[in-house]
């Protein structure tokens, strides 16, 4: 695998990254070990539940529960901050004004042309 070249827009997987194996500091090694321990414990919990022959229900995933709760209850945790005000105004209020001005200007321009008699009806069916 010495000449392994990843696909153009993909990133190199962690297990093939040479920086993973050489010149590691003690802190990094300690943190990696801790993370690995936690992951092993979680995996053991999950495997116990998965391979339990008397289990009839689904395995509860707390991350999924949190995500579904967040999707169903946006307003309870809503706070008007600068960011939310800006985005709400940008997507909710601004289109109204922009559309009003655009459509009005276009309609007025057409009216001017009709009044002056220069309106181009070349492609209109009802001529």
């Amino acid at each position: 695998m010495a000449d392994y070249r990843e696909a153009p827009l993909a990133s190199r997987p962690k297990t093939l990254d040479p920086a993973e194996y050489f010149n590691l500091s003690q802190d990094k090694r300690r943190s990696e070990t801790e993370r690995a321990t936690l992951r092993a414990q979680l995996k053991r919990q999950y495997q116990m539940q998965l391979n339990n022959p008397h289990r009839k229900e689904l395995i509860e995933d707390p991350a999924l529960t949190r995500w579904v709760y967040a999707r169903a209850n946006p307003y309870n945790h809503f706070r008007p901050t600068k960011k939310t005000t800006l985005l709400g105004g940008l997507f909710g209020v601004l289109p109204l004004f922009v559309l009003y001005f655009v459509l009005k200007t276009d309609r007025d321009r057409k009216e001017e042309q009709i009044k002056a008699g220069t309106y181009d009806r070349r492609f209109h069916l009802s001529s």
Partner: protein, 612 residues
């Protein structure tokens, strides 16, 4: 009445009656016999073909063209819609060709769909499609053409989704219908324009243009309709996806008859387009782009039916180029010759697929020449005709088109693209033959492979004869309506042949590379572009709707609807009202006995004072 006119009208109406009779028989409540498909439908189509030869010979002998107006359907003071059939040069030649090809396909389909419990319904659908196609081709007014147009669209939907339990088939059928609908918008726009400006939908009446109107808008509408129906670039993905249907459907609809309906429309209404340079240039450039793009996509596909589908799309682009060159009769010639060899290619692929137990990947085929020699020979004949080998059917149309292209005064871009696409045609045709017929088998020899069924051999034989002699016969018997340019430099004259030969040699060289090693990290950019169909379906079918829907969901859940509107509406009103409510309801302290005593006291006092 003159005998030949009488003979022609009766034969032509007899054709339609013969085709419609099995449909009416199938309406009866009694169950159909098991081989109804073979005894009734195939016989009807065969008889209809033989009957339709009669008007063809009368036309050859005398040049008689007729218009039959059968029924005044909806007539107002100023606008008429009639049931009216126009049998001119184009429909008289196309009807026997279509019926001949359909006869071969139906005979093949009886073998191919033999184990299907709903085979009678399948044949009924095919027959209904055929009737709609004949109505489209012989229509004398736009309304009847529209009936045929929509009819073929709906039957295409039903037939592509024949195996409706399969999700890809349903998606493909839906794709076909939606892309066709986009094209139909153009057709309806043109029909509305014709109705309001020319006051008629009769074709011969539309050609008289005394007011010198500008036809650009309806012509662009017609070109949009042809783009949708004939799978030009922009509305092309439905054609390769339509290969989800059974092979007889691919052979009939998506190679010979339905997809040429758009081109046929443009050929029919060509007198409107002759003087309009915008429309002609649009056709030319669109056709050139289509033919090159789809030929590029065909180069790296691995499904045999998809390669042939892209080949069809490429030839349709070539027909569009011909229309853009102001040569409708050459486009029509190419339609007729293309029907033969393309249908044969599809039937050969169907025979191979069935023999290999439904294997469609060419990487898992091989050595079919020694296993099914008849089929692979027909495959070779069809591919040779497709690439324009001299004096086979495709040569007369394709070479004439390329000659006309070379000697016309037009932009070099369209010319280069078309020549490049011609060489690509040779490349992918050789690719099919190399992977399917040559070499050694790359599959396990589990199912028995044989060709001893006349239901396969006879259709292939008939279509092979057609692929060989059809071009010659049609060219010999019909004078070209526009004078072809006969004298040109030698290089231009043989350019089509040279370019195809070049493609063939390149393909042979590439094929010989398949058994040698090459560099370990090849540059895959062009291969990926071609294999993923130019990323067109990825972007248009997935990315654009995905972005739209994700943005909509984000606005609805996080940005505006469930946050600010809740605050501005119900929740905000609640938060304003709550203090007032608590204020008023905190004023009373719950001393009911006191309140009641006071009430009775004041009540009696009021009574006392009012009484006295």
């Amino acid at each position: 009445m003159h005998t030949s006119t009488l003979a022609m009208s009766s034969s032509l109406l007899m054709v339609l009656t013969l085709l419609a009779t099995p449909l009416f028989i199938s309406l009866s409540p009694l169950p159909l016999q098991k081989s109804w498909a073979l005894t009734h439908v195939k016989t009807a189509v065969k008889l209809a073909f033989l009957v339709s030869l009669f008007p063809l010979f009368i036309f050859l002998n005398e040049g008689a063209e007729i218009i039959i107006t059968n029924w005044h359907w909806m007539n107002t003071l100023i606008f008429d819609i009639n049931i009216s059939f126009k049998f001119d040069h184009y429909s008289i030649i196309f009807t026997p060709v279509a019926l001949y090809v359909t006869w071969a396909i139906l005979e093949f389909a009886f073998w191919y769909m033999h184990t299907d419990p709903n085979i009678n319904r399948f044949f009924k659908y095919l027959l209904l499609f055929l009737i709609a196609m004949i109505m489209l081709v012989t229509a004398n007014n736009m309304f009847q053409l529209f009936i045929g147009w929509e009819g073929v669209g709906i039957m295409s939907f039903l037939l592509i989704g024949w195996w409706y339990g399969r999700t890809e088939a349903n998606t493909a059928a839906l794709q076909a219908v939606i892309y066709n609908r986009v094209g139909d918008v153009g057709l309806i726009l043109s029909m509305a324009w014709f109705a309001t400006n020319l006051n008629s939908w009769e074709i011969h009446q539309m050609f008289a243009n005394p007011q010198n109107l500008d036809f650009t808008l309806p012509l662009l509408g017609l070109i949009l309709a042809a783009t949708g129906k004939s799978a030009q670039f922009g509305l092309h993905p439905w054609l390769p996806a339509a290969m989800e249907g059974p092979t007889p459907v691919s052979a009939l609809l998506h190679s010979s008859t339905m997809v040429v309906a758009g081109i046929f429309l443009l050929i029919r209404l060509h007198p409107l387009m002759e003087n309009n340079q915008t429309a002609l240039s649009t056709c030319l450039c669109l056709g050139a782009l289509t033919t090159l793009f789809t030929a590029t996509c065909a180069l790296t596909q691995n499904d045999i039916k998809k390669i042939i589908a892209f080949s069809t799309s490429s030839q349709l682009g070539l027909m569009m180029v011909t229309i853009g060159l102001n040569q409708p009769q050459l486009a029509f010639l190419h339609i007729c010759t293309h029907a033969f060899f393309k249908a044969m290619l599809f039937l050969c692929s169907g025979s191979i697929i069935h023999n290999l137990n439904n294997e469609q990947d060419i990487r898992k085929m091989g050595g079919m020449h020694s296993l099914t020699p008849y089929t692979s020979s027909c495959l070779t004949i069809g591919s040779l005709a497709l690439t324009g080998t001299p004096f086979l059917a495709g040569f007369f149309s394709k070479d004439a088109i390329i000659e006309a292209l070379n000697t016309s005064h037009l932009n070099a871009w369209a010319l280069i693209l078309t020549l490049l696409a011609t060489s690509f045609t040779a490349i992918y045709s050789l690719r099919i033959i190399f992977f399917v017929s040559m070499g050694f088998p790359r599959f396990n020899s589990i199912s028995p492979i044989n060709e001893n069924n006349p239901s396969i051999i006879n259709p292939l034989k008939r279509l092979a004869w057609g692929s060989i002699v059809a071009g010659l016969i049609i060219t010999l018997n019909f004078l070209p309506s526009k004078t072809p340019i006969m004298s040109m430099p030698l290089l231009l004259k043989i350019s089509a042949l040279l370019v195809s030969l070049l493609g063939l040699l390149i393909a042979l060289e590439l094929a010989s590379l398949t058994s040698k090693t090459f560099k370990s990290h090849p540059n895959m950019a062009l291969y990926t572009f071609s294999n993923l169909l130019g990323f067109f379906p990825t972007i248009i079918h997935r990315m654009a709707p995905n972005l739209n829907l994700v943005l909509g969901q984000k606005i609805a859940t996080q940005l505006v609807d469930q946050t600010w509107f809740e605050k501005g509406g119900p929740k905000g009103v609640t938060s304003l009202n709550l203090p007032l409510i608590t204020l008023t309801s905190d004023t009373q302290k719950g001393l009911i006995k006191t309140y009641l005593t006071l009430f009775f006291l004041t009540f009696t006092l009021a009574l006392f004072f009012s009484a006295s």
